[in-house]
Structure formats: structure tokens, C-alpha cells
Symmetry: C2
């Protein structure tokens, strides 16, 4: 049990439902240590089955509550569920701002649920790099559905598009979210829209506004038309409807070829992101070393331009 | 005049104060076209003189107004001034949200001021890639001071640290900015703090809170202790004091070696960012091509893991 665990054995145990094996595999891919490649190779034959669902929206709309309620609903339907909560990390501490998802505590002890909170990495973009690796672990572990919850506005939402088979955009009434949604390009990425906290004032108006805006989207007769649902996640209201809608979207996207298209794009980006990461790490090994130091000195002195310096650097880091 | 301009000749004209030559050079480096390398080489011998000042803060604190007032003050002191306004770009349109800085209109016609509004690029991080190149143009054009105004919270502020000789953090009273500042790590990056809109309620309290927080920073006897200034930029109040303080910080940072240290780090990051960009662009050329397509297919089929795929991709894009 102690010592370095064998990746192939760990994958076998993860597929048998061992929580610890899943956690260990995710740690191994997160830390990008020496055995990451072995893990990756051991996972490969078992991936490609899970329904990947992205949940996104501004802070305060109730993403974690919704995720938790959806987990309960999916478990009641006999599905094995994975949850990846992607937190923005403080640029200085490198740590997650929100800490671990204690709210998910109600699911501990259920061995059909795997929950992992991830800090986004700095430079190369959080989701684009570590999350796909964690997704592969949950996928190989036999999860039927994987919920990827992203905090945040902007970039991370866009990245979800490339990751998820189905993207759920959450909003809450009275936050001026309609306008914000349009601004952030959220209308374009959602497959399903959910107005949560639907028992609050203004919920109907938010639903109406959203529907109006969505009607402006171009859509052919066979295209998916994103529905706008209402939920009160804290009381689990409307969550069964959300689960049904996600099933419908999956069916449509398989039939239409959209799922294939997205999965292909997802893998393409993943390969590219890994490639970039490898180059970055090779260059980082030159940090503080004599080569980069000398090049920097020559650029500072005006004897070399940074492009020529980068050429030399790449030559030596290859 | 027509046709492809010669970079060396353009640099000569930029140094002579020709606005059009400066604008043309920035476009050439921004578009990263074929002549970027020639431009970069032509600029190299003339760079390294300008005082690079980063101005940052949340939306609404009056960054553009402050920048404009500072430009006026610096011009009155006979300095040649460059301004780079870095806007967040919409992830979908690729365009700048705020458009060009019409507010800077009062400085048009003054040939000692060069103003450029830049959209941040997507993937590889805005400031880390295109802005240093534009900085080099303004530097080579003979600007004594270059103001880099960044909209935004989070990542872009952090990137400013790596760029600027002096970083000004702007705040406004009553926006709960004190707490926000601490959160975003803003306390750690500011060399000078400015509470703008100081004629508003709560300005004194914001100044006091900020000073208290700054006192908690570790500092040796020879370290720079970031002052907290008050301004009303719209009426140019306190802007002379800001200009004086920036001069003092420059003097200190030259004497202490801090400027050298930062410039060295700036160039290092620049070389690395260019290296990464080159690899990215080589990989992009493989997009849609047979190699990446085949690798993607093998990963989707579970016959190859993405790490092994990235290895093959890098081999073929080298």
C-alpha cells in the first residue's frame, strides 16, 4: 500500500469505485510529476464515455448549491457522478480563494460521487491545462456524468465551451445579469440557461429577457434551441427538469454530431496545451541559468533584439 | 511613402518625432507580421531609456482621467510622453470593449505625446506579449516617460509588476476598495498609491485604511515605502505631487538597483513570452492539418494518450 503506487493498478482500483485511488490519480496528474505520463497512458483506453457538463455563472448565483442538488438528483437516477470545482487562485499565494467545497459535505460517504476542488494554475490558463487531465481520471473511473463548476466571469467561461458536452449557464434574478450575460458572451456558450433563486422578485422578468435575447440567436431547424429553466436549488426545485434537459441535450448532440465535434476540439486543444506546457517547462529549466541570463544581458545592452534572443533560447531548450 | 516602409528609416523618423512613424511601427509589432523581426532589430539599439510607469486600478477610479492629467503635467515639465492603454478584449469579438481613448483627445496635436490603445490578445495573455513590443517602440522613439494604463483586476495588474519601473495603484473612496485591494494582492504591487476623487466622502478614511495596511508590509531601512497620495484628477489637483513622487521613485530605484532588477526580469519574461508565442504559432500552423487531426483521432479512440500525442506534435512542429 505504501510507496509509489502503480498507475495501472490505481486505474483498476478507481474503476472499481475506490475513492482514494481516484483522489490519488488526480493528484498525480495535477502535480505533473514524473509518473503523469504513466498515469495518462493507463487512463487512455478507458476514457471518452462520460457526459461532461459545464456549470458557469457569476459569483452569487448559486453554482455550488445547484451542483450539489444536481448531484443528488443524478445519484437518485443511479448515475455515477464526478464533480470538478475550479476555483480562481490568488495570483500571489497560488492558493484557492474559496478553499475546499465543504458545502459538498452531504455527498461524502456516497461512493458513487467523486468531488474534487481544483485551483486554477497561473500562467497558461487554468482549465486549459490541469482540468482536462482531472476529467480524464473521473472519466476513466467510470463516471457517467462529470460536472465542471467554474467560478468566474470571462476567460474561464469561454474555456468551458471547449471542455463540456453540455454547458449550463446559471443566472439569478435582479443582478442585472441579463445585460452582463450579453456582454460576457455568455449567451453564445450556453446550451441550457437556468435562472436560479426563482422564488425571488424579478425572476420572471429575467427569464423573459433571457428568452428574448436568445431568440436573436441564429438557429436552423435542426439546431438546439437553448431552453431557459427556473430553479430554486436550495430547495431542489426544478432540478429534475434540469437533469432531464441535460439528457435531452446529450441525445441531441450525439445525433447531430455536435458531441463528436466538441470532443474532437477538446482533445485538439488538450494536445496543444500539453505541448505548450512542455515547452514552457523546458524554458523554465533555463531560468536563472547561464543561457537566458546571457541573452537577457545582451538584450538589455541593445546588442540583441528579443526575437533573436527567443530564437536562440528555443534552439537551446529543444 | 507608399509600399512597404523600411523599418530602419521608420525608427529614424519616429525618433525625430513623427507621430505617423510611431503609429506605423506599433502596428507592425502588434500584427506580428513578416517585418516584425526587422522592426525589433531596428529598435534594439535605441531602447532602455524610458521610465515605464504602470497605472492600474478597478474600473471607475479614474484611470484615464489621471493618465491624461499626468500627461499634461509631464508635458509642462518638458518630458516626451508615451501612453499605452491596454483594454480587456471581448473573448468573442477580439475587439476592445472601450474603444479608442477619445478622452485623450486634448493631447492630439501635441507632437511630444504618443497615445496608443491596445486590445489585449487572447490566449497568451495580453500584456505579456504585445505590450512589451509597443513599449519598445515608444522607448526607441525617445519617450522620457511611458504610462501603461491597464483596466482591470487580477491577472493584468500582476503582469504590470513585471513591466513597470514604477507602479501606481489608483483607488477611489467608498468603493470598498481597501478590502478589494488586499484581496487582489494590489498592496504588494504598488510603488505609489493614489486615492483619486479625494473631494468625495470617505476619502480620508480610505487613505487612512490604506496607510494602515501598508504599514503591515515588511520593509528594511533602505526600502521604498509606498506613499499614499490624494488627487482630484478631473481638476488636476495633486497631479504635480504624483509626478514628483514618480521622479523620486525612479531615483530611488536606480540607486537601489531595483530598476535594474525589474528591467532584467522584464526582458527575461519578454524573451520567454516570445519563445512561447513562436511555438504556439508553429503549432497553430498544424491546426486543421493532417498531423494534429490524426493525433486527435488516435486520442479519441483511446489508442494514444494526450501526452504522447503532444510529444509527436512537438517533434513535427520543431
Amino acid at each position: 500500500m505504501a510507496g509509489a503506487p502503480d498507475p495501472v493498478e490505481l486505474v483498476r482500483r478507481a474503476r472499481a469505485g475506490e475513492q482514494l485511488a481516484v483522489a490519488r490519480l488526480i493528484s498525480m496528474v495535477e502535480n505533473a510529476g514524473g509518473r503523469l505520463r504513466e498515469v495518462s497512458a493507463a487512463l487512455a483506453p478507458h476514457t471518452g464515455r462520460a457526459h461532461v457538463v459545464g456549470l458557469t455563472g457569476s459569483p452569487g448565483v448559486g453554482k455550488s448549491t445547484s451542483t450539489s442538488a444536481l448531484v443528488t438528483e443524478l445519484r437518485a437516477r443511479g448515475r455515477r457522478v464526478g464533480v470538478l470545482a475550479v476555483d480562481p487562485s490568488s495570483p500571489f499565494s497560488g492558493g484557492a480563494l474559496l478553499g475546499d467545497r465543504v458545502r459538498m459535505g452531504e455527498h461524502t460517504g456516497d461512493d458513487g460521487v467523486f468531488i474534487r476542488s481544483m485551483a486554477t494554475r497561473g500562467h497558461l490558463g487554468g482549465l486549459s491545462w490541469a482540468t482536462p487531465q482531472a476529467l480524464r481520471v473521473l472519466d476513466a473511473a467510470g463516471c457517467d456524468v462529470i460536472l465542471v463548476e467554474t467560478v468566474g466571469v470571462g476567460q474561464s467561461e469561454v474555456e468551458v465551451v471547449g471542455l463540456a458536452d453540455s454547458t449550463v449557464v446559471l443566472l439569478a434574478p435582479g443582478m442585472g445579469d441579463g445585460v452582463q450575460a450579453a456582454k460576457a458572451g455568455i449567451l453564445e456558450i450556453g446550451d441550457v440557461f437556468v435562472v436560479n433563486k426563482a422564488d425571488r422578485d424579478g425572476a420572471r422578468r429575467t427569464v423573459r429577457e433571457l428568452r428574448n435575447m436568445l431568440h436573436l440567436r441564429d438557429a436552423g431547424p435542426d439546431d438546439w434551441r437553448p431552453p431557459v429553466l427556473s430553479t430554486v436549488a436550495a430547495r431542489a426545485e426544478g432540478i429534475d427538469g434540469l437533469a432531464d434537459t441535460l439528457d435531452e441535450h446529450l441525445t441531441w448532440s450525439e445525433k447531430s454530431g455536435e458531441r463528436d465535434r466538441r470532443r474532437r476540439e477538446r482533445v485538439r486543444r488538450e494536445i496543444e496545451a500539453i505541448g505548450m506546457e512542455q515547452v514552457r517547462s523546458r524554458m523554465e529549466q533555463l531560468r536563472g541559468g547561464a543561457v537566458l541570463d546571457a541573452l537577457t544581458g545582451r538584450v538589455l545592452a541593445g546588442r540583441l533584439d528579443p526575437w533573436a534572443a527567443a530564437d536562440e533560447l528555443l534552439e537551446r531548450s529543444g
